[in-house]
């Protein structure tokens, strides 16, 4: 956006703000990306975002991004390579590796023995999509998803790769996808943040790679656009509960005193920030009710809970987070970013990947089914995938029953459901070793551009001026992948 538009926008906001005699001014709403639907008209049109957005009709109004941290092995889950068995144990041919860089964890290996998947694949649904036996539940939704087997990234280790998929840059400092979306589109809920983060707790013995708050940071965007982490233990939102010994009556009384004193002060000083502060305190008060109501799963039917699997009743589990994600989007939260760790199978992959899939497969599929049965899938985009894939060669010793896999950025698989995506298609092909893309490469920046497109945003036009330059999520890259779109 050019300076002049920013200027005009600022003026508009100021004008709106000064007219807001009761309730919340837009400036206040914009804090946290919170925005208020006009109560009188029941209008659910988005507020708090930028004027002129969405750029065109949006297919998706909200996003649930199920990030699978660690790098799920595409050849054991989605990218069926029956030909690999005949190459078992051979050193990965130079014609396949083509001198591509590998991580410091395997660069010292004497050989790179090809490790075919130990898991059986079969075809599912009308679409006949191949799926691993590790994903029996995902296999049931193949006709609702777009499977992309040709995603590729630039980074080869966790930190830069996750940072890349979440912010469009391998190095820290840029706003996250969710921050861009809440900056551009605002929220549809008046008492919940526009951008919510859920970090699922570990389920098995698998090692969890660390995460970083920069992944949901607003970068150079104002900090009110950063993701609000909903925690599974203690207060779901930090400091949400009234302090011990402060009951609701006391809290209300304190807020009434505050409002009166701040109000007088506002009249005396004339600084609109004081009025904004008053509205923020009222919003905080409302969040104290709306968030616990959101977190309370007791009204979910047994059938629903069962659908998400045995972990659904365990707070903080991936299954309960998938269910919570549905509850969040039901309430108009714009962007739910979920993190499930434990996909980093450098060794003992057959054992550990099975455990991981047991925790992830059913809830992921249940979320799609649940959204679908509630009519929410049409305008909610669900994204499932990690930061990179895994190598076809074994890290460490290859045996008949065991192998490990190192990081592989050249190709991996992600799936997408609802919100403007095709249903029941697979996109992209890889070579016999699942090592190089042979058809329809889809880069991380393309994924980002396509997600934005589903939200009605032209990724090239949603920019923010920082250090003299108009930055955008996709830097100077990214193409919308038309083949993915319905």
């Amino acid at each position: 956006m050019d300076l002049r538009k920013q200027f005009e926008l600022a003026m508009t906001r100021r004008a709106l703000f000064s007219r807001a005699s009761t309730g919340l001014g837009l400036a206040a709403l914009n804090a946290l990306g919170l925005a208020q639907a006009s109560a009188a008209s029941g209008d659910k049109s988005p507020t708090g975002g930028l004027p002129g957005l969405p750029h065109f009709a949006a297919k998706a109004k909200r996003v649930i991004f199920l990030h699978q941290s660690g790098g799920p092995a595409q050849q054991d889950l989605f990218d069926y390579k029956p030909q690999l068995e005949k190459h078992r144990g051979i050193d990965l041919p130079a014609s396949i590796r083509m001198g591509q860089r590998i991580t410091g964890m395997t660069s010292g290996q004497a050989t790179f023995p090809v490790a075919p998947s130990l898991f059986k694949f079969s075809q599912h649904g009308q679409s006949g999509t191949w799926m691993s036996e590790l994903l029996p539940w995902t296999s049931k939704i193949v006709d609702d998803i777009t499977l992309v087997k040709s995603v590729n990234t630039d980074a080869i280790n966790h930190d830069p790769a996750i940072t890349f998929i979440q912010t469009g840059s391998q190095q820290p400092g840029r706003p996250s996808l969710g921050s861009w979306v809440s900056y551009g589109l605002g929220s549809e809920n008046q008492s919940l943040p526009a951008f919510v983060v859920l970090v699922s707790q570990s389920s098995a013995v698998n090692i969890d790679q660390p995460l970083f708050s920069r992944l949901w940071s607003s970068g150079f965007l104002p900090s009110n656009y950063q993701g609000v982490s909903f925690r599974s233990s203690g207060d779901p939102v930090l400091f949400l509960s009234d302090a011990p010994g402060i009951d609701r009556e006391t809290r209300r009384r304190m807020l009434d005193s505050l409002k009166a004193i701040n109000g007088t002060h506002s009249t005396e000083f004339g600084d609109p920030e004081i009025e904004t502060r008053i509205t923020q305190y009222e919003m905080a008060y409302r969040m104290q009710t709306s968030v616990p109501e959101l977190m309370d799963m007791s009204k979910e039917s047994a059938a629903t809970l069962d659908m998400y699997g045995p972990d659904a009743r365990k707070p903080g589990s991936y299954a309960s987070h998938c269910l919570l994600a549905r509850r969040l989007v039901e309430r108009g939260v714009r962007f739910v970013q979920l993190y499930k760790r434990g996909w980093d199978q450098h060794n003992d992959l057959p054992r550990d990947l099975r455990r991981q899939c047991e925790a992830v497969d059913q809830p992921s599929a249940a979320l799609v089914m649940d959204l679908k049965q509630r009519g929410l899938l049409d305008d909610t985009l669900v994204v499932w995938g990690g930061e990179f894939g895994r190598t076809v060669y074994s890290q460490g010793r290859l045996t008949d029953t065991n192998y490990g896999r190192d990081h592989h950025p050249r190709n991996f698989a992600m799936w997408f459901a609802g919100g403007g995506m095709k249903r029941g298609v697979s996109i992209g092909e890889t070579d016999d070793f699942s090592y190089n893309i042979t058809q329809d490469p889809v880069h991380i920046h393309d994924i980002q551009a396509t997600i934005m497109h589903c939200l009605g945003v032209n990724h090239k036009k949603l920019t923010y001026r920082f250090q003299g330059r108009d930055f955008r999520l996709t830097d100077v890259h990214g193409n919308v992948v038309e083949k993915m779109l319905a």
Partner: protein, 946 residues
Amino acid sequence: MRPGSLLALSFLCSLAASAQKVDYVREVRPILSDRCFACHGPDEANRKANLRLDTKEGMEAALAKIGPRIAHEKKALRMPPPQSGVLTEPQIATLQKWIGQGGEWKMHWSYLPPKRAEAPVVKNAAWARTDIDRFILARLEKENLKPAPRAGKATLLRRVSLDLTGLPPTPAEVTAFLNDTSANAYEKVVDRLLASPHYGERMAMPWLDLARYADTHGYHIDSHRDMSAWRDWVINSFNQNLPYDKFTVWQLAGDLLPNPSKDQLLATAFNRNHMINYEGGAIPEEYLTEYVIDRVEATANVWMGMTMGCARCHDHKYDPIRQKEFYRFFAFFNTVREKGLDGSRGNAEPVLKLPNTWQQSRLDAISKRTTELEAWLDERDVVALREGWEFQQPKFPAPPTANEKGTAAASLRFKMSSRLDTVESLLLDQPQLKVWIDGGEAIGRNRRGSRLYFQSGAQVWRTKDNFVTGDWQHAALNLTGTPVLYLDTKPVTLEPAKATAPKNPPKGSKEDIRFFDRALTADEIRILAIDEPAKAILAIAADKRSGEQRRALLDYFFEHGAPAGVRDVNRELRALYLERDDLDATIPSAMVMSEMAIPRESKVLARGDYRNGTEVVTPGVPSFLPPLSPSAPKNRLGLAQWLTSGDHPLTARVAVNRFWQMYFGTGLVKTVEDFGSQGEYPMHVELLDWLATEFVQSGWDVRHMQKLIVMSAAYQQSSKVTPELHEKDPENRLVARGPRFRLPAELVRDNALAVSGLLSGKIGGESVLPYHPPGVWEDIAYGDTFSAQRYVQDHGDKLYRRSMYSFWKRTAPPVSLATFDAPDREKCIARRATTNTPLQALVLLNDPTYIEAARVLAAQAMATPDPLAFMFHRAVSRAPSAQESTLLRAQLAKQVTLYRNWQEGVDKLLKVGEAPVPAGRDRVMLAAWTTVASTILNLDETITKE
């Protein structure tokens, strides 16, 4: 961002309409930069139509072509094309008018040295106290605005105290100031504050953002580092008023000064504050490059207000910085003796050790003694002695007789991986005895310890304490009666445990497993643990022994085969080495700059990728800036001298602009980090240049500049604003009123601690871990293998240190500070946003820090005749109004009634925080007053400088 930003433009527009002659630099160049330079600017590779509009020659050649194209009647032929953002009608008019006036080209304002203008003559000369005021007032008079009246004395004292020390005035200081009617009463206060040791802390705070200071390495694992010694140096430098040129030279190149002092070396930690990675599998060259680029970006931002990073991948699009020039600048910083992946055990090399006097003298003594002993041993030719001993085939005592089925005792040697990554590992699996070891847990900052378990019969035992493994160790077990375990011949304390033997094989090795029919004596255990391994090594041919085996054998020889004199010397020497290592581990250090003997070669990196090195470059500075002095060394020292020569157009301007921002919330150039083409044109260019030249002429006197600003009438104005003035100037860029904005994150908390009297006055030292919600680190951390993954809260005084000392973990910064816009410190930050959010309300209402502060404040207030007045004077430096008294007394009365009937609530509330509840207080009253104190701490006024 606050609504109503970027309104500076409205002033520019109004000026544009009225001015007769179009000002190229202020009116034309910003349009060209924003809309045209990307294709017709400095970036040679992407320049279109061979047209260049950012240089004199280029513009002269292009001038005739511009007019027709920007207003071409065919939209498709109009320049710039839509993707570059079309020109508005007023912009086209400005450009046309300028071309019509001859199209005179001028250099971008900030590339030229500042010119010191005489302060303008103003009508209301009596108002102006300093030259700053004459510049400000001249502009106000032009805009038909009047300055605001002076702020009330108490308000002013609170403002200047918060600005210069970050702490509110005490009620006694307020009273003293109110009673001081002397003409220089205010100046006396300013001098007192500038002399306070807290002044250095206040000045250091924004510097820590610029320096990306943190207590962890960042990136993936984000374990701890300790740069607090450098932070102390920064605070001290401000307190000692180290001139800004020295402050600069020491930080950029203190190590290259002749005979550098400890402080000069320590100062260079500035450019080691960047993040350091050691994610498993990461590629060292990639991160070496990132570290150097971070130094370039931070240095250019801090000292030049230049966005140099834009030239990493290609020529800069807006400023005349060639990509090659970026890498010449890069070459200055690509010479540090550092590793690409480092930091797994605290500070990464190169480090400066900072022993205290006692530590240094002990180190010296150890060093002297070890040198003597080593020389003594050298004279004895230990190698020959050992070979002689071996040649004579030393005798070993006979070991006890083992029995495969023995159940009374067992002996084995084992070596576990130092990083066990399964929960438990099986060492021994016999019908009569199972032995295993657990995955270990963190002990101390950097170490991990494991416990050994064994099961004989039904009972499971384990070692009571964690021990560190990673080397060969010997375990002997006597199983008759109450079991006894010897680790390396020493008995260890056991405790019964509930655990079952795991199935996983060990991550490590085991050998020499023996069982016995009877309990072993201490002598026999010694034979098994010490003599037998030596005997086994001796049985291996000398040239087949591993390094580890050779060392083990040498140790054995010293202890058992060497002449008594040699043995004693060796014992002493080993004890001294151990002491030295232990001592060394307790000595603080800082990561500093230190040149490699042979510097790395620097190359232009195509597309900024470390794998794409092309042309080799030598250190150098961008050509649009003054050249390096021919006599200057072509290294960081030469660079630092170049920045501080006094001729550099940017160094002083950028520094004084940040000073201004600290007081007025917004810099004279709002884009404090960008003085280039895309940066904002200064609101008061003459004032900025006057301040910059004043700074240099004063001998880069930092304290002088602070005093100059706070002594100005402009600074001392009331911050009340009328709707009309707010409409005209919402961000107060014209300074027709005093500054009013929410305190920075650290000061929001410091203020509450100070108001309650809890604040610790201690300055400097290691970072502290105050109250923090559980799980914030742990939810995203990397297990227990590394440090700084679990938040272990401090107690006592450390709960109440100033927030600048709070432990800053980059991947999970202190939550209450981050909520108030504190950055994560991953990158250099020159300005923070000031947001206003409900999450901030939740922190102030419910964070135990603030509840405790309210409780402690209330407890003190209750001991005074007028508690409410006491609390107001502490929190906002004034008495409560009648309305406030009525409201809060009503609140108090209702709370008293409520708490009388809710004893549990009273108990809960008074239990928040670790500060004791003073005896003799009515607990119901204290609880009720606490809610009043909490209300006061939540007032907008309390968290605002006004």
